[in-house]
């Protein structure tokens, strides 16, 4: 069949049999290929688009088609669009050829597909389970299959998780977690150490797994927004927005301009308070208390501002499918106008405090380096990627309201803790600019903030550059307006692996520092 124009340029001279192609929206191109061609097409897209695997997930369509479907999503930065490669897998033979052998960024996704659907990647380098821990969950129960039922109580395989082992004279292991010393989510870190330097770090996550994707199935879109706000509490707004975007496009809703502007403004407020928290956390983890406490004051200030604006410190209850449900009137706008200069000057004071301290800079400079090549191979995204020289920001990479603002993508080359700190400090400044531009535009647009939606059978991708990085959501709504399948990818999902590479060669006392400079989510990763 004829390739769509878009694809012709990318595939070039290669011959790949595409069974079916469709472009339901301007920025989503779906290509269905044979099982044999799947790996080849994915390789080609991975290379030519220079894109990591952004999402890779399965859907159970056995009720309708007797098949599972696999979707592998790449980003076409040049055309500002997604390319989704699909293959069907027969229900009686749930296997597919692994991508992870050559495209490392697919590895975690394949492990997830295996544990959740029982669809096995043949030849995969790592098949251990991620979230369903062997100690508490028996083999052979796949929660995201439609005909899943709970395993009977007390029915356990009693298996143990196998950590990678480093062996040799003088090498010892330091296990940390899941319960940590601080007030923080649970994760298990196993360091293999020779003397001081870390030789290997294995991060075992999944401790906060709650089965979010299964819970979402069968929920109405309005119930779903509420759940999305509770996936990662510090990204409540980013998550609910990503979900709304994933279906608004398909519903054919034109979100009113005012709502789009306010959404951008809230997203930047979320970025501000979290970046303040991170910068303070980095200071705290080297024992530099004053700036750490100072940063917590900035964060508290923004949280209190949030509460005045919408009644929620964490920006919950704003987003609805079709727009937003809380307007920011002129009185509230004034609150922001008054608060911004103070917050800004506090941020600048904080930055000065840190960057003028020699002992602080000595700790962060050249600590925890994540090389550009490694970051690219792992599919690292967001702040961590931008600090390692990958200048990708979804606010610019996709069509959105952000096209009307002028702001820079902040990028650093060195990939160390200092680089991630600098990216955060500079992004904060850009966020102030964006909020001011929002406020200028808001009064020029009509007062509508929400459009009613007509529910129908749809699917689509929503992506938001939240403060950590891009939150990606793919959802399918069925004819009753309920969620059929929802796949969520947190920026932390691939970044956790980046952390385990960044700490290599560093000493354990620098681990908290490296960890905080990435500041990854446990709950967003574990779902």
């Amino acid at each position: 069949m004829e390739y769509p124009n878009l694809l012709k340029e990318i595939i070039g001279g290669e011959k790949i049999a595409v069974i079916e192609s469709s472009q339901p929206f301007k920025d989503e191109l779906y290509l269905t290929v044979d099982n044999g061609e799947f790996v080849r097409l994915c390789h080609l897209l991975h290379k030519r688009l220079n894109s990591a695997v952004k999402m890779f997930f399965a859907e159970d369509l056995r009720a309708k088609l007797d098949k599972y479907v696999l979707y592998c999503v790449f980003l076409n930065e040049q055309k500002r669009s997604w390319i989704i490669v699909q293959q069907y897998i027969h229900k009686n033979n749930p296997i597919f050829a692994t991508l992870a052998k050559d495209i490392h960024s697919a590895s975690l996704f394949e492990r997830e597909i295996k544990e959740m659907f029982g669809i096995e990647a043949q030849g995969s380098p790592d098949a251990r389970r991620l979230k369903l821990h062997d100690e508490v969950w028996p083999q052979g129960f796949f929660p995201l299959r439609k005909d899943f039922s709970l395993p009977p109580e007390g029915y356990l395989a009693g298996l143990q998780y196998k950590f990678k082992r480093v062996e040799g004279e003088g090498i010892f292991e330091v296990p940390v977690g899941p319960v940590h010393a601080g007030i923080i989510g649970p994760g298990h870190f196993r360091f293999s150490v020779a003397g001081e330097p870390i030789i290997n770090l294995e991060i075992r996550l999944g401790w906060t797994h709650r089965g979010v994707e299964k819970i979402l199935e069968g929920k109405t879109i309005h119930e779903a927004v509420r759940i999305f706000e509770c996936i990662s509490g510090d990204t409540a707004f980013g998550y609910s927005l990503a979900f709304c975007l994933s279906i608004e496009k398909a519903f054919g809703v034109n979100v009113p301009l005012r709502a789009q502007l306010l959404r951008a403004m809230f997203l930047e407020l979320e970025r501000l308070y979290n970046h303040a928290n991170d910068i303070g956390g980095i200071a705290l983890d080297v024992g530099f208390s004053f700036p750490a406490q100072f940063a917590s004051l900035i964060k508290e200030g923004i949280l209190q501002l949030n509460e005045k604006l919408c009644g929620s410190r964490y920006l919950k209850g704003i987003n609805v499918v079709g727009g937003i449900q809380k307007d920011v009137d002129s009185v509230k706008q004034q609150l922001i106008q008054q608060a911004l200069p103070n917050i800004k000057s506090d941020f600048i004071a904080l930055e000065e405090m840190l960057f003028s301290s020699v002992s602080f800079m000595d700790r962060v400079d050249s600590t925890g380096i994540l090389r550009t090549k490694t970051a690219r191979d792992l599919g690292v995204t967001g702040v961590a990627a931008r600090a390692s020289g990958i200048g990708l920001d979804m606010r610019k990479a996709l069509h959105s309201i952000y096209d009307t603002f002028s702001f820079r993508i902040i990028k650093e080359q060195s990939g160390d803790v200092a680089a991630r700190l600098k990216v955060r400090c500079n992004e904060v400044k850009e966020s102030f600019g964006i909020i001011i531009q929002c406020l200028e535009q808001i009064n020029k647009c009509p007062p509508e903030i929400r459009q009613e939606v007509q529910e129908k059978e749809v699917f689509g991708i929503g992506c938001v550059e939240a403060w950590r990085g891009p939150v990606r959501v793919w959802s399918r709504i069925n004819t009753q307006g309920k969620i059929e399948r929802c796949k969520i990818v947190d920026p932390s999902f691939q970044n956790w692996e980046g952390l385990s590479f960044a700490v290599l060669g560093n000493i354990i006392p620098d681990f908290p520092l490296c960890n905080k400079s990435f500041d990854l989510s446990y709950s967003g990763n574990d779902l």
Binding site: K131, L132, H133, E135, V136, W137, P143, F148, L150, P178, V179, A181, G182, I183, I184, G185, P186, G206, W207, T208, H209, R210, G211, V212, K214, I215, R226, I227, C230, I231, S232, G233, D234, A236, N277, F290, Q293, F294, S296, L297, I298, K299, E300, G301, L303, Q304, R313, Y314, K316, N342, S345, D346, A349, S521, Y522, S523, D526
Partner: protein, 175 residues
């Protein structure tokens, strides 16, 4: 406000000067109960109340608010309350989240590691009955089925102010 602290520190070389009430953004009811709370802790817990926090699958918003309790505005430490790194030092276990199966054992071990007398307080909607996640295949829906809970702090997430108020309630109830 924060700038004032900074100015203070530059001028006077020290930063421990308390903010005046009008300057502080701390809600007035927290200020009001300050003395009473301090006296209560003094009498019932020998001057200090130590808390260990454990996340059993929360979204970290509750954690964020618990951390905020010890920022310079709420400054929970001035009442004699402190968050500690080990359950062995703790009087209270604050539990958040709907209890993921993966965390069940860790939760029990943390509780067992605490010395008597010990109390469990739950924080946030999820910890009562699983909240939004109560129908999940992977949650244990509610701490109270596993540990003896003396108090629940409601909210999604509860504000620092609410957490402090409820802690005071708890201390009043303790014999």
């Amino acid at each position: 406000m924060s700038l004032n602290i900074l100015k203070n520190s530059i001028k006077k070389g020290r930063v421990t000067i308390p903010l005046s009430l009008s300057e502080s953004a701390c809600p007035p009811d927290v200020e009001k109960m300050r003395q009473e709370l301090k006296n209560l802790i003094h009498a019932k817990f020998g001057r200090s109340l130590h808390i260990r926090e454990i996340d059993t699958g929360s979204c970290c918003a509750c954690e964020s608010e618990i951390i905020a309790c010890s920022n310079p505005i709420y400054d929970i430490q001035r009442f004699g309350i402190d968050f500690v790194a080990s359950p062995r030092h703790a009087d209270i276990l604050l539990v958040t989240g709907p209890i993921s199966r993966n965390m069940e054992l860790a939760l029990q071990k943390t509780y067992e590691a605490m010395p008597e007398p010990k109390f469990v307080i739950t924080v946030g909607e999820c910890a009562t009955n699983g909240g939004l996640f109560r129908d999940s295949y992977y949650t244990r829906s509610g701490v109270k089925n596993i540990l003896p809970v003396v108090l629940h702090i409601p909210g999604c997430p509860p504000s620092p102010q609410k957490i402090i108020t409820y802690l005071q309630l708890f201390i009043q109830k303790v014999p």
